[in-house]
Structures are given as structure tokens and as C-alpha cells.
Point group: C2
Chain length 280, copies 2
């Protein structure tokens, strides 16, 4: 694991690291915020943040404005990249923004040529937490959050691993990827045309089939002026699925807010407070 | 004045506008944060933020994390661009990052071919405030702040116009541009080789000759791990000049912090609180 850069921020530290990933078979870069509490002997809990289409580990760390509250609460934040990277990693032949590089969708691809590197589900749910817990003074208390494609990722990773995460939150998630244009394009490319394979990565489907599983509190926030709301995000499908399964999910709609980091920065403190309740 | 974009943020609004500038003789883009208090009849005061080398109006607005506190305090923030822009605007023939486009240094150039468009001092100190006060529900209470080249700009604009600004603050300013590599390059290119012309835009010189002028409170913050500290920034020269003139300037050094927006975002709330004392 190689340190790429380091900045003091809000009393803690922002660091970027590069490491060789077994699952994605390439070098992966991630960022970590460590609160000043890591100087003490008490290990701190970790919030994993999954970013949206086109992002890297940098977007959240530069734009969300999360560090002051995270430092007060004593929570570390880890932000992975959104896809495998490198010369050997196949991109969308059309180089679109919503498939291939920067658009890994937090799933394990089964279709060539993507199946070799696009194993982001295993990377973010297994390999990265194991590395973090080995290398940093953190506890095994984990929460997961994300935005848009990363909101989908947070919901799917959290709902599929309820014993590993204390709480889940999402800004403007792609709630029902098996039934929206972004999701259909990504899932058919990475998973093939069989619809049944898609459902394993669809938050609505996972909620509907969660009756006998451990339940993790979920918070979702959505801007009403979000240009992708009706066609791509469909939070009402998420609420309907959660209600059918009696799942503890709350959706809050915010008039006037859009899909940008201006929305995330407006409510990230509320998300950190939400997670802090369950991480303590 | 044309609205370029609009985002709801932290209870208020972030908007970008384009307008034809008389002083820079080109289209200029600026950003404004309007707190929710503008919905009331009471006009709000304005903090002008001047950015550093290579920046546009966007860097501060996306990375500083200033909006929550600005909204609580009821302060609008205006961020201009850092130079004139456009096909007609001459850049450094070497296209360096520290001269020409993105590096206007908040001075009025006297040397061809820069003198036609590079009139950033008049733009930020006169034209832009007049436009803001005409177009938005703001008061004539103004403060000015900035980072690096913009910290130099805030000091110079504020010190040269003490009756127009209630308070001045700077992160990591180029304190003594007449005597550092960035400043010497910019001043010789924009103002010519005569050293006397440079002193009108040198904060140390302005402080030293401020004895009979109105004094405006100044706050300066500087990271001790800033890679540009010794060669380019020289805050100790600023303190020495302020002490010689009995000027109310405080410098706070911060161990471990660097030159990035991670430093700015860590202390922007303290700067907003500082300005709020004098803007009320």
C-alpha cells in the first residue's frame, strides 16, 4: 500500500493510497479521512462512501464538506474509486460516461471482457474493508453511504450484508436499476441479458426479499429539482418495496435541491449524525 | 447579466452569472451565494472572495464548505474569476500557470498587450461591487477575503479602500509580491520593470504607509506545511509591516496544514465569524 498524498484537514487527516487489488486485478486508489481521535488508543468506526458516475476517490473528499462533523463525531470515512482503472482495463467502446471506466456500478461482472477487472462488489464489500481494518486504527463498526450510482451501491452492499453494516444511507440513489436506463445499460453489459441475474443487485428486489433477514436502518434523501429523478432514480419504488417488507427506511424529499454536490454538502452532516447513532 | 446556472445549497442559493465587463473588456463569469435571508426585506452584507492561481469562480464555491455558516450568519459571498477570459485576451506566450489567464493578480496592467483586458483591480474593487449592489438584495456592507494570489488581492483591495470594506482576511496570502518570484514575474509582465509601480500593489508597502489612513481589521491564517511558505508567501514580512504601522493584523500559524482547499475548508467558518463581527 503506497501513500499518494496527505493533507491535514479539520483537525484530522485526508490521505490517498494506491494498492494492488486481488479482485479487480489492477492498482486501485482510495482516500481515507482519519479523525484526530485516531491519536488515542480507541479505534474509530468507518463510514464507506461510494461515489456516482464519472467520479473518483476525490469528488466526495473535495466537495462534500464532511470533515468537520466527522472529526467531531470521531468517524473515519473511506472513499474508493468507482471502477477499476489502468491500461489493461476495458472501457466502453463508445467511451460513454455511464458504462466502463468511472461506472463500475459496484457489481461483479460476469460478461467478457469486463468480468476480469469489474469486480467492484467484492472489492468494496470485502477486500477494501479487510485492508482498512488491517492497516488503520479502526474498529469493525462499519456504515455505508453513497450518491446516485454510489447510493445504489451503498443500498445493495448494505442490504446484502446486514451483519456487516450498522446503518445505510443514500443521496439520490439509483433505486431500481433493473428498471431504469442507466441500470439496464450497465447490467446488460456487465451481467448479460438474463434479467434474473440483475435482481441480485437491485435494491428494490433486495428489500422485497428481506423478510427473514436482519434489518439495518436506512436513510435516503432526494432533491425534488434533480434532473434524473423521474427517469433514473425512482425513490418511490424504494419506499414501496421497503413498506411491503416492513423495512426501516425513511425517504426525505428536499424541494429545490438538484443532483449535485451542493445537495450532498447541504445534508452530509445529517447523514453523519444518522450513522453516528448506530456506530457508537 | 445572464444566469449561467443555479443550485439550492445549505438553505440558500448558489448562482453563476456572465456579464460584459467595461474594465476587462470581455465577458466575465462570477458566482454568488445568497443566504435564505434574502427572502426577507433586510438586505444582507457581502463577502468578496478572491481565488488563487489557476482558479475560476468555481473552486471556492465547490470546495470551501462555506455555505452552512454563511447561511446561518446571513452573509452573501461573491467569487469573481481570477483573470479576464476569451479568445481576444492575451495569455502568457509560455502558457505558464502563474501569468496570464487564471493569474490576473488583481492589478491594473499598464504594459501591452495586457493593459487592454487585465484590469482586475478596477473590476473587483469597483465594477463588480457596483453590479452586485444594483442587481441583488444586498447592503453596502462589504468584506473581502482570498487565498494565495487572492489573499494578496484581498489585502491590497482592502488596504487601498479602507472606507469601502469592514474587514479583510486572507489564507496563505502572497504577502510581499514585490519581493517573491510569483510577484516579480507578474508585476514585471503587467506593470513593467519599474519597481516603484509595483509598490502600489504590495500589501507590505501599503501597511507601512497606512499611518494616517482608516484602519480595517485584518485576519491572516497560514499553514506551516505549505510548500510555498518560505519562497512565495512570507507572512512574517506582513506582520513586521503591520507592527511598524500599528495596524490591527493578526497572523495565526497552523501546524501540519498545507496550501490546499483542505486548509481553507478547515478554517473558513472562523473567517466568516471574524467578518460577521464587523458586517453587522
Amino acid at each position: 500500500m503506497e501513500l499518494v498524498s496527505e493533507n491535514r484537514v479539520a483537525g484530522g487527516w485526508h490521505r490517498r493510497y494506491r494498492h494492488q487489488s486481488q479482485h479487480t486485478q489492477c492498482d486501485m486508489t482510495f482516500a481515507i479521512f482519519l479523525p484526530e481521535q485516531v491519536d488515542n488508543t480507541q479505534p474509530v468506526p468507518v463510514l464507506y462512501w461510494l461515489s456516482g458516475l464519472t467520479c473518483t476517490d476525490e469528488n466526495f473528499m473535495q466537495k462534500a464538506g464532511a470533515f468537520k462533523r466527522a472529526n467531531e463525531l470521531g468517524i473515519a470515512i473511506v472513499a474508493p474509486d468507482t471502477s477499476p482503472r489502468g491500461e489493461d482495463v476495458p472501457d466502453d467502446p463508445q467511451q460513454s460516461y455511464d458504462f466502463g471506466l468511472g461506472a463500475g456500478f459496484y457489481i461483479n461482472a460476469t460478461q467478457a471482457p469486463y468480468d476480469k477487472h469489474y469486480q467492484m462488489y467484492s472489492y468494496v464489500s470485502e477486500e477494501l474493508p479487510a485492508l482498512i481494518e488491517q492497516q488503520f486504527p479502526v474498529s469493525e463498526k462499519r456504515a455505508i453511504a453513497g450518491h446516485s450510482m454510489g447510493g445504489h451501491g451503498a443500498l445493495v452492499v448494505g442490504l446484502k450484508n446486514p451483519s456487516r453494516y450498522c446503518s445505510i444511507s443514500a443521496f439520490s440513489p439509483i433505486s431500481n436499476p433493473a428498471d431504469c436506463p442507466w441500470g439496464k445499460k450497465a447490467f446488460s453489459g456487465y451481467l448479460g441479458e438474463e434479467h434474473k441475474a440483475w435482481l441480485a443487485y437491485d435494491a428494490c428486489h433486495l428489500l422485497e426479499h428481506s423478510k427473514d433477514s436482519l434489518k439495518v436502518p436506512v436513510r435516503v434523501d432526494q432533491g425534488e429539482a434533480d434532473q434524473f429523478l423521474d427517469e433514473q432514480l425512482k425513490p418511490e419504488a424504494l419506499v414501496k418495496s421497503a413498506q411491503a417488507a416492513d423495512y426501516p427506511l425513511t425517504l426525505t424529499m428536499h424541494p429545490g435541491y438538484d443532483h449535485s454536490y451542493f445537495f450532498i454538502s447541504s445534508f452530509i452532516d445529517a447523514h453523519l449524525d444518522f450513522h453516528a447513532q448506530y456506530l457508537k
